[in-house]
Symmetry: C2
Subunit: 100 residues, 2 copies
């Protein structure tokens, strides 16, 4: 019974660690995606408001995305890529190239 | 007043069309992503259950993803890519290459 209990406790601990790492990775990706999107948008000299309109989202939502405070769906990422004249794969290649 | 009213109506109609197109594109992307993921997973001879465990999601959730019934977040797409030994950009390059 003691061993079984320890096993359960170890499993719970591993799950907690895994979730924490998962959240950390989600935040990192959102931050890197947001930074790349902001850089590509400003290179095109498009305001955040105009860009949000082209993508079809609210300006405040685009602000969240660029600050890396939102884990966007792949569909939204694709709409953003299209507004930048990129495909989803080339947008993510840019994000990965800039990743520290 | 008449013209203003027509303008509002036209704007509403455009918005409705835009939303319908947006939903259609989201479904298409989910379908294509799901199909590519399923193909790459089966090529690796990994069951859906094992694969879900590696990615860190529930088996039923992975079923939804492979059937293209869920618009996943970029973070989940990245976890799936990692489980397949790919980066996010190379996974989407595969999806785009298979797109009809």
């Amino acid at each position: 019974m003691g061993n079984r209990w320890e096993e359960v406790e170890r499993h719970k601990e591993e799950e907690t660690q895994r979730k924490a790492q998962d959240q950390q990775e989600a935040r990192e990706l959102a931050k890197n995606l947001g930074r790349t999107v902001k850089r590509l948008r400003t290179e095109k000299k498009v305001s955040q408001e105009e860009f949000a309109y082209i993508v079809g989202v609210h300006r405040t939502y685009m602000g969240l995305v660029e600050r890396g405070e939102h884990n966007v769906s792949v569909h939204t990422a694709r709409q953003i890529a299209k507004a930048l004249g990129l495909t989803l794969s080339t947008l993510f290649a840019r994000v990965e190239a800039e990743w520290e």
